[in-house]
């Protein structure tokens, strides 16, 4: 039977929220293999277990392991071609390009000569996964450090070769130049056919952002041409000789047990291989049609327990919260109890968010091949090493006998942390004795993946007549603690996260609970502003000291023309913002409401994530995240009843389309004096409250649930304003 164990270790809370399974790894890198693969040249490594930027996660290496092993991060061959190894994966966030820029900058080579080898468990150093906006701050720093080290070694080599003084030598454009004599030598000539390996020394100085020449520019996407010609191969496009196509027979409800199973019809179909292993039933066949037909011919009976439905969801989450759980996250300042009586005005409100689906356009998929006892799987996952471990555990293999390769993937949004499709394809391939490709159908993707957690958030607050916050009480049930604390200055606070028993399988989603917590907090701030008859921007500024967050609010308001807009019936304006993971976001939105239909017509978002690595790529992330955030804000919700998903199709689960996208303006606040933070997630979080507040401004109706208007507003509401 296929079993997947999740053994959550004591990890930092951020990682836990991303549904991380165990962390255990062993390096067995043999440097000679690298030279075989890449030819001679210079290989830059880092002693395994020595973590420069605290990325690799876990530090279970013993001394003797460290001395023996070396993770290879960068190789320069005799033609000057630079290969960079990273376990990070490209899922559309453009890190193949942004990381290459950072290497090119520090190594002083043209960007075109940098080749990124990503997400291959056999070739790249261990990596915990691509999530949590960690690629830029952690992997970026790691690769920059490696590249500086390589540059230093190259200078040393040139100095030795020329018997020159190192201080006269400069690295630029893939060459070392002797300032005194004017002679130059390319990196390729310098490393020649030698087999040199070096370990990076103490953490060297990185080039400051103000001196960047390649980082900070809008370098075009690496391999961009392959994406417009259809040449890029996603996991779903991988094809192997003799490969079969798989199909899984799914239970009729969650937690169902198999009662009976008759596979006799399927077994009669030529070329079909059938697997029945515990509750797992699947087939593989030479083509998709035959696999589908074989799967349909299998007669199965399931027994499913009765389960919570969406109509009872929010009551359930509150009731099923684990008050004494270790996961409970509490933050207290001052005393809310004592402050309660001192506020001039108090306000209490409850906000809810639904389960939503990531809906990556490329569904989960894998191609699995067994050869000489070794398993290779091509799959789109954010955590290739975790999937490797999942496969090794499931099939009782050594990690060395499993290789996971992640081609640049048709996105993930936090939804591809796990290896279901990989395990299933491998199980089918093992039975068939041939490689198997398995592509989940859209219905499977909507049902058998995991969801962004639903949640209930209670907020109670008190303010002085001048708008100064007096107390802030905040309880989040199940949605998650990310960005739960308020960035506003409040002398008395109690903020708490209550994990709950979740009826649906839930996990990481782009920005985690930051979207829900921003929605609740920033809606509530808007409610307070209206109670006080204050401008919402003014109320925020009054209670906000954080200079960078003030900066993005002001930048967004200015671009939007906040001080000039005037709401009228059916036309309103709102704002929302916050900070998480080093990303400061503020969004303003204009909403039109006509006959109950809500349309976001214009949005401005200001974002500050420190020194910008690639402005065009960053803008793409920000405007895209904003559009994706609109889906969860306005209409996305997974509906479910008694263990079954009721809307597992794109015709029923609405995602944003062209006609839903507003005119979006992005303001980049480029802070060269600040370290670069990740930007894949937080730009999603400002838009929902901005829209909720704009709906109120347009109609006087306060919407406290996401999605806000899955079926529009009642026809009559657009007659009033806030």
């Amino acid at each position: 039977m296929l079993e997947r164990t999740v053994d959550l270790e004591k990890l930092d809370p951020e990682v836990r929220q991303h549904e991380v399974s165990r962390l255990r790894h062993a390096f067995d890198l043999d440097r000679r293999n690298f030279f075989k693969l890449l030819g001679g040249g210079l290989l830059v490594g880092v002693a395994a277990g020595r973590v420069i930027a605290q990325e690799s996660g876990g530090s279970a290496h013993h001394e003797h392991e460290i001395s023996k092993s070396l993770d290879s991060w960068l190789h320069i061959d005799e033609n000057g071609r630079v290969t960079v190894f990273t376990g990070k994966v490209e899922v559309g966030q453009n890190v193949r390009t942004s990381l290459a820029q950072q290497v090119a900058e520090e190594l002083r080579v043209p960007l075109a000569s940098v080749h990124m080898l990503m997400g291959d468990t056999e070739l790249t150093p261990y990596d915990m996964g691509t999530f949590g906006s960690r690629t830029t701050p952690h992997m970026g720093t790691q690769l920059r450090t490696v590249a500086v080290s390589a540059r230093t070694v190259l200078i040393e080599m040139a100095a030795k070769r020329w018997s020159a003084d190192e201080s006269n030598l400069q690295a630029q454009d893939g060459k070392i130049r002797d300032a005194k004599s004017g002679r130059t030598i390319t990196y390729g000539e310098l490393v020649g056919g030698q087999k040199l390996a070096t370990v990076i020394p103490d953490d060297p100085d990185l080039t400051p952002a103000k001196e960047w020449k390649i980082v900070g520019t809008s370098a075009p996407k690496k391999d961009g041409r392959d994406f417009v010609t259809g040449a890029h191969k996603y996991s779903t496009d991988v094809s192997l000789p003799r490969m079969l196509h798989g199909k899984i027979v799914r239970p009729n409800a969650f937690h169902a047990k198999l009662i009976s199973c008759d596979t006799s019809q399927a077994e009669k179909i030529p070329g079909v291989s059938v697997v029945r292993d515990g509750d797992f039933v699947g087939v593989s066949a030479p083509d998709v049609m035959t696999a589908d037909r074989a799967a349909e011919s299998i007669r199965v009976q399931w027994d499913a327990p009765s389960q919570i439905s969406d109509s009872e969801l929010f009551d359930h989450l509150r009731k099923a919260s684990k008050q004494d759980d270790d996961d409970r996250d509490q933050f207290v300042v001052g005393s809310v109890q004592q402050a309660r009586g001192r506020a001039a005005k108090t306000l209490k409100a409850t906000y809810t968010v639904a389960y939503i689906a990531h809906t990556p356009l490329e569904p989960r998929a894998a191609v699995a091949e067994w050869k000489d006892g070794k398993l290779t799987v091509w799959t789109g996952t954010q955590r290739p090493f975790a999937v490797r471990d999942e496969l090794a555990q499931t099939f009782h293999l050594s990690e060395n006998d499993v290789r996971v390769i992640v081609p640049d993937t048709g996105s993930a949004y936090g939804g591809k942390h796990t290896g279901e499709a990989a395990v299933e394809a491998a199980r089918l391939a093992k039975a068939a004795g041939k490689p198997v490709k398995l592509i989940w159908s859209r219905e499977e993707e909507f049902t058998w993946a995991y969801f962004r957690p639903a949640g209930v958030i209670d907020v109670a607050s008190g303010v002085n007549a001048d708008g100064t916050l007096v107390f802030w009480e905040y309880d989040n049930y199940n949605s998650g603690p990310s960005a739960m604390r308020t960035p506003y200055e409040v002398p008395n606070q109690r903020i708490e996260f209550h994990p709950a028993d979740t009826p649906l399988r839930q996990g990481s989603y782009r920005s985690l609970a930051a979207a829900a917590n921003h929605f609740a907090r920033e809606s509530h701030m808007d409610e307070l502003a209206h109670e006080l008859k204050m401008d919402p921007l003014e109320l925020r500024m009054k209670n906000l000291k954080n200079e960078r967050l003030r900066g993005v609010f002001q930048a967004a308001a200015e671009k939007f023309g906040w001080d000039k807009v005037k709401n009228t019936p059916g036309r309103g304006f709102g704002m929302g913002g916050g900070v998480e993971k080093g990303g400061y976001v503020a969004a303003c939105a204009e909403v039109r409401v006509q006959h109950g239909a809500v349309k976001v017509v214009r949005a401005v978002e200001a974002f500050d994530c420190g020194a910008v690595v690639n402005p065009q790529g960053l803008k793409n992330q920000i405007s895209g995240a904003l559009v994706q955030g609109l889906g969860g804000a306005l209409f996305e919700a997974i509906r479910f009843e008694n263990g079954r998903i009721l809307n597992p199709h794109l015709a029923q689960y609405r995602v944003p389309r062209f006609s839903d996208a507003p005119e979006v303006e992005v303001v980049l606040v480029d802070r060269k004096d600040q370290p670069s933070a990740g930007a894949g997630e937080i730009p999603l979080t400002g838009i929902a409250p901005a829209v909720a507040n704009a709906i109120f401004s347009a109609t006087g109706v306060r919407v406290r649930s996401m999605p806000m208007v899955p079926a529009g507003l009642p026809q009559t509401v657009s007659n009033k304003t806030a």
Binding site: K221, G230, V627
Partner: protein, 158 residues
């Protein structure tokens, strides 16, 4: 069943079930994997190809009804090394993130430009509203279609 298809200007013989969706024939039998599976329900348009110049969701078309018709996939748009204006424009504007919807978007845009060399924003939106970009790159795609229209017109006039 032996079937001959006219794909990207070549006759291609395949032996498949007549009701097999054109998408799977292109991808699995002809190795033209640029056309993507996104939903199999005709809802996302990642599988868009041109049949006689019109955009068709290949996941919903049985291969038997494509016999004798000119089929163009993303792989058939470029002329040798020279990209189709829509491809060129998407690349220039960088109108993609993960890129999975891109072939369907480009094919849909190419079909639009054949009939409407001067599309307005609204015409682009209504023509392409069936194409989902889950990364939310819509604004840039509209910009890219305008740029493609420009390139397309200048090529026609050249």
């Amino acid at each position: 069943m032996a079937i001959t298809l006219l794909v990207n200007g070549s006759e291609r013989a395949v032996d498949v079930q007549p009701e097999k969706p054109l998408l799977y024939v292109l991808r699995d039998d002809l190795g033209l994997t640029g056309t993507k599976y996104g939903c199999g329900e005709g809802q996302c348009s990642a599988c868009t190809v041109l049949v006689e110049g019109y955009p068709v969701r290949s996941c919903r078309m049985e291969v038997s009804s494509a016999v004798g018709k000119k089929i163009t996939t993303i792989e058939g748009l470029a002329r040798g090394e020279k990209l189709h204006p829509a491809q060129q424009a998407f690349l220039e504007v960088e109108a993609f993130q993960c890129g999975y919807c891109t072939p369907g978007m480009i094919v849909a845009a190419a079909a639009l430009l054949e009939r409407n060399p001067h599309p307005s924003d609204q015409q682009i939106i209504s023509h392409m509203d069936g194409n989902i970009c889950r990364c939310g790159t819509y604004g840039r795609i509209i910009e890219a279609v305008h740029r493609a229209a420009e390139l397309h017109r200048s090529q026609r006039n050249a």
